[in-house]
């Protein structure tokens, strides 16, 4: 009499398998996923996998300064003799950490504001929320971040704060668009007529239908946040020396271009690798979710 639950979990497994099939049909998405997993692994286990973990902080070895790439130092060493490869592994920590922290600061408020404004489309609430959003979007994001970072003490925390402040409107916009469409679905009307609370309608009826685009945008945005973070580090407003921020390393090495090219070229390639990975993963997710809708 009491219905069997295993049926549901079997269904879920099958859905998972189907989604994986859709995702894996595109080789580039697999490449993206693999890159993201690899970078995450290197970041998490940097002290174990880096050939010279000590080189990640203030370390000086003038005897081996400015060595070109060799077997001993695969990506060469910088002007004070630190191994570039080891520093890149530790640099991933800052880049990924920044992405994760910024997104977790940005997504909840953006999503909630977008939901509220979208559901109340056409009312004063919608106008107030979305006009504030527009104001934030009107300011060029990098300029705003530069302004905040230079007014406050330039460090990683303030860089994240600055990026978060200019990033939430995109989520508000995305969810606003979705919610203002979904509110016209009859399941919302049905919940309203039964007498469901606003909380239930926003978070139980509308939000679950916005999850796939939010996840897709998050994975694409990881790349963008990392680029902005690196840009801030490059101009000296993000990760501070001697810590190994990828942007900081590119900036330091740029003084010795083109003779000692490896000092900034390898960290640059590392940024490209991370961003590309997240973008490919995001594209794959988008295609997977798009196929789901059909």
């Amino acid at each position: 009499m009491v219905p069997a639950k295993p049926l549901a979990s079997a269904k879920r497994m099958e859905n998972l398998r189907r989604n994986w099939y859709k995702f894996s049909r595109n080789r580039m998405s697999i490449l993206g996923l693999f890159t993201v997993l690899l970078v995450t692994f290197l970041a998490v286990f940097a002290p174990l996998v880096a050939p010279y973990p000590k080189h990640a902080s203030a370390f000086v070895d003038f005897a081996n300064a400015s060595r070109p790439p060799s077997l001993e130092y695969p990506f060469g060493t910088d002007v004070i003799g630190r191994d570039i490869l080891s520093r890149i592994f530790f640099g991933f920590r800052f880049s990924l950490g920044m992405g994760v922290i910024v997104l977790s600061l940005v997504v909840p408020p953006g999503v909630v504001l977008g939901l509220v404004a979208g559901y109340n489309q056409g009312t004063w609430l919608d106008t107030v929320i979305m006009r504030i959003t527009d104001i934030f979007l009107a300011v060029p994001s990098l300029v705003l971040a530069l302004a905040i970072c230079s007014v406050l003490t330039p460090n990683l925390f303030n860089a994240m704060l600055a990026v978060s402040l200019m990033w939430w409107p995109w989520y508000a916009r995305l969810v606003y668009g979705l919610a203002s469409t979904l509110r016209n679905e009859f399941f919302v009307a049905s919940a309203e007529t039964i007498g469901a609370s606003k909380f239930h309608i926003l978070f139980r009826e509308i939000l679950p239908n916005c999850i796939s685009p939010i996840f897709t945008k998050m994975s694409l945005d990881m790349g963008w946040v990392i680029i902005i973070g690196s840009a801030l580090s490059f101009v000296g407003l993000g990760v501070q020396a001697p810590r190994p921020g990828l942007g900081t390393m590119v900036s330091d090495g740029s003084k010795y271009l083109p003779e000692q090219w490896w000092i900034s070229v390898f960290p640059s390639l590392a940024i490209v690798l991370v961003v590309l990975g997240f973008n490919l993963l995001g594209d794959g997710l988008r295609d997977m979710f798009a196929a789901e809708e059909v």
Binding site: M1, V2, P3, A4, K5, L7, A8, K11, E185, F186, F187, A189, S190, A191, E192, T193, I194, G195, A196, H200, R204, E205, P208, N209, I211
Partner: protein, 329 residues
């Protein structure tokens, strides 16, 4: 039989934009423009009309999605719209609706259990609602293991059954059926209709059955009302309605039902060819709104809007042919 729900002079106008150089003149759509009817206890009241006639707007106003522009709706003698006051949960419980498209009325991200559980949570919270949910599913002839399914895993008819189970969860006395079968395959339509008839007998439900399908009304409705451009043209007992329609529009609709046998052909009113299509509700013709399409148009028709007249007991018509000034019949 007593009246359960009465609508009196119900109007719902939507402002869709502004016209004129200074944009001062609002453009309104008179979706519902002065509709009065009563649904009696235990009956099926059929509300029939072409698309754009305003029949769904009537339904959405009854369930409270819209505030009426004018007029009122009373349920068991009590007005449903008293100023800005929120509708009591007792009334929300009593009036339920089954929407036309079950694809849109069931949230794709919620299981059947969660969908049917919601009205229970709000109106009759229980520690373990599962047995009640299973009983509701059985009532609409769905197997109990459907509780963990998502709507996408169900067929169109099954989805509509879930929607019916959800509507019945709070033990309502009045259920609005907004074209409950028009999105379904013909083979499933009959099944849903039979289910609805059975449930009506079992729980003594009153239905407001909204549809554009007249031949369906012949089988299920006790009384039928025809709507045209936001107004009701004719109300009659179902048998009388199909045997003896007065309004030219009703005659036009009935004569356009396709039939297969000669016996059925004889039941049909004299052949009236339908002319044109329903005009836009933004630009409603003057006088009687049906006059541009009416085969019996008189000079009066384009000038004056006819009133509802009771031609026979329980049979009212809104047409100048039957106005007292015209000498009635």
């Amino acid at each position: 039989m007593t009246d359960l729900l009465t609508a009196t002079g119900l109007k719902k106008h939507f402002v869709i934009g502004q016209s004129g150089i200074l944009k001062r003149k609002p453009i309104t759509v008179k979706a519902v423009d002065g509709v009065s009817f009563a649904v009696r206890e235990g009956e099926t009241f059929g509300l029939v009309g072409e698309s754009g006639s305003g029949k769904s707007t009537v339904a959405y106003t009854i369930i409270g999605m819209y505030q009426p522009t004018e007029g009122n709706i009373a349920f068991r003698g009590q007005s449903l719209f008293q100023g800005d006051k929120k509708r009591s949960s007792a009334v929300k419980k009593e009036i339920q609706i089954v929407f036309q498209d079950p694809g849109s009325s069931l949230n794709p991200r919620r299981t059947v259990k969660q969908i049917v559980e919601l009205p229970l949570q709000i109106h009759q919270p229980e520690k373990d609602p599962l047995p009640k949910i299973v009983r509701l599913l059985e009532m609409v002839e769905l197997p109990p293991d459907y509780v963990h399914k998502y709507p996408q895993m169900l067929g169109g008819g099954e989805k509509q059954m879930v929607a019916i189970a959800r509507a019945l969860a709070t033990n309502p006395s009045f259920v609005i059926l907004d074209e409950p079968t028009s999105a379904l395959d013909v083979s499933i339509q009959a099944k849903i209709i039979n289910l609805l008839i059975r449930l009506q007998e079992e729980f003594h439900l009153s239905y407001l059955f909204i549809t554009h399908d007249l031949s369906l009304m012949r089988n299920v409705a006790s009384r039928v009302a025809i709507m045209y451009l936001g107004k009701i043209c004719e109300i009659a007992e179902a048998a009388e309605f199909f045997r003896n329609p007065y309004h030219p529009y009703t005659q036009m609709l009935l004569s356009s039902i396709p039939v297969v046998s000669a016996a059925e052909e004889e039941l049909k009113p004299k052949k009236i060819t339908s002319r044109g299509e329903i005009p836009s509700p933004v630009n409603v013709p003057s006088g009687c709104s049906f006059h541009p399409r009416c085969p019996e148009k008189m000079d009066l028709c384009s000038m004056e809007d006819p009133l509802m007249v009771e031609v026979e007991e329980g049979h009212t018509v809104r047409c100048h042919l039957f106005s007292p000034e015209q000498g009635g019949l």
